[in-house]
Structures are given as structure tokens and as C-alpha cells.
Amino acid sequence: QTPWKLVIHGGAGVIERERISKEQDSDIRAALTRALDAGSKVLAGGGEAIDAVEAAVKVLEDDPHFNAGKGAVYTYEGKNELDAAIMRGDTRAAGAVAGINGTRNPIEAARAVMEKSPHVMLIGEGANIFSREQGLTQVTPDYYETPERKRQLEELKANKLSWFDVDMKYG
């Protein structure tokens, strides 16, 4: 047997100690740990890598500290447009969605594209329809909202900053 491994990320950018409170630091580390635990549980039980990465990403999508799922950033129009992709190394099967909203966990939609369609990428309203047809959990637009993301959009609009200036935690 191969020793199993799992690596996760929750975004990169100008992340400095003086810009993150102790509470935020603690919450973020706890969320990362939960994501590792979710993926590790799959792998330690002999499960597949594809199931482990989906499980880990879903934890991070559900946590408002990260720019994915709940807590995703706003478009200029004040909406959330979510993107996700998944790929397995044994068959190189892959699935992706772009510009979707309404699906609670976009990574589930990407996996459904990979496994339940002959395609690799679906976008926009078509991808939303596909997600609903696959029976994936749907949410209303307010599910994704967080006060911090609203503040960031307002700051961008008020200061006419470039896209990359507001938060510098990329996606």
C-alpha cells in the first residue's frame, strides 16, 4: 500500500500577522484542520483520493473565512459567481463549472459534470440547470453573503481600486 497524503490551501496573498486578529487566526486554523480531518478520514479508511479532495474542499466551501462557497467574494454587481474544478489522476477524467450560483457546494457540481455528463466544463445558467437536475443541494443567494465581503466590494467601488487591490487574497 502507498502511504496516503493530503495537502490543502485556502488562498494566498498579502497575509500578515498584523492584519489578522488572534480570533481570525484561530478560526482559520481550525477550519483548515477540519478540512484536513475530513479528507484524512477518507484516505485513512482506504478511500479514493477523489473522494478525499472533495470532502476537504467542501469543508472550506462551507466556512465563511474562505473565498469559495459561503464567504465567496462579490462581483461588481453584488452577486456571487462561483467556479470549481475536480480531476482524477488515474483516468484523467475532469469536471468544472464556472460562473454558477445556487449550488451550495460548487465542487459537487464539478464532480457531477465529470461523472454524469460527457463534458468537462459547464458555465452559467446551463450549469445551474444541470446542478439542479442532478439533485445537488441548492441555496438562495443570501447563503453566500458575509459582511466582510460586502465591505470589500464597497471599498473597491468607493476607492475605484483595481480588482487585485482590495483584499489580496486571491482566487
Binding site: W4, K5, H9, T33, Y74, T75, D83, A85, I86
Partner: protein, 134 residues
């Protein structure tokens, strides 16, 4: 952006990435996360990669596939390949990072930003980090 890469007990790798994009995006902008080969890629012959960063630069560099291709065709380690490709992104003017796992069991981070939210686990234990010096 969030992501994960894994190696299972059967020696197979996988990658997943999910994002909201960038604040204030317009015109249906899409970054690298859902672009297979840019922000996400997995190939048992080389590695699995998930990226986070300034998406347009990662698309132009074909980051995830490029890392796997360097490992498969040049025989580079995961660390060498990832560092080289992230350096290339930097040359283009982009910033961000990647996580990589290989079928050999290599697990690495590579980023050119001050920090990256990240974590790593195996049967031996787990660790998380935020800042660049951790």
C-alpha cells in the same frame, strides 16, 4: 480560492479547486480555478496540483499542467517543478501559489506571496500554516 490534492493508498492522485474569483469582477470573468491545466490538474504519471493566485497569469503560464509536464518529461521533483513554474508566473507579473502531491508521496507548497492558508496531513500527523515563515 480553496483547494486540495491527495494521494490514496492505491497510488492514485486527485485535485480539486473552488473559488469565488476576485472582488468586483465583471463581464463574466473566469480565472484559472476551473480551467483544467491552469488551476487544477491531476495525472498519475506525474502529480496533482491545485492553484490559487492571480488567475489570468496562471492561465497564461498553464501552471498546473506545466508542473506535471516538467515532472513527467524532465524528471524534476515536485518542489523543483513547482518552484520553477511559480517563478515563471512571477516573471509574467503574477502572484499566488500551488499545492502539489505526487504518486511518489512528495507533498509541497510553493508560493510567491507573503502567506498562504495551507495544511498537510498523512498517517504521521498533520500541520497547518498561514504565514510565509511558518
Amino acid at each position: 480560492t480553496v483547494g486540495a490534492v491527495a494521494l490514496d493508498a492505491k497510488g492514485h492522485v486527485a485535485a480539486a479547486t473552488s473559488t469565488g474569483g476576485v472582488t468586483g469582477k465583471r463581464w463574466g470573468r473566469v480565472g484559472d480555478a476551473p480551467i483544467i491545466g491552469a488551476g487544477t490538474y491531476a495525472d498519475d504519471r506525474a502529480c496533482a496540483v491545485s492553484a490559487t493566485g492571480a488567475g489570468e497569469y496562471f492561465i497564461r503560464a498553464g501552471v498546473a499542467h506545466e508542473i506535471c509536464a516538467r515532472m513527467r518529461l524532465k524528471g524534476e521533483s515536485a518542489k523543483a517543478a513547482a518552484d520553477a513554474v511559480i517563478a515563471d508566473v512571477g516573471q509574467l507579473g503574477g502572484t499566488g501559489g500551488v499545492i502539489v502531491v505526487s504518486p511518489k508521496g512528495e507533498t509541497i507548497y510553493s508560493f510567491n506571496t507573503p502567506g498562504m492558508y495551507r495544511g498537510m496531513a498523512s498517517a504521521d500527523g498533520k500541520s497547518v500554516g498561514i504565514y510565509g515563515d511558518e
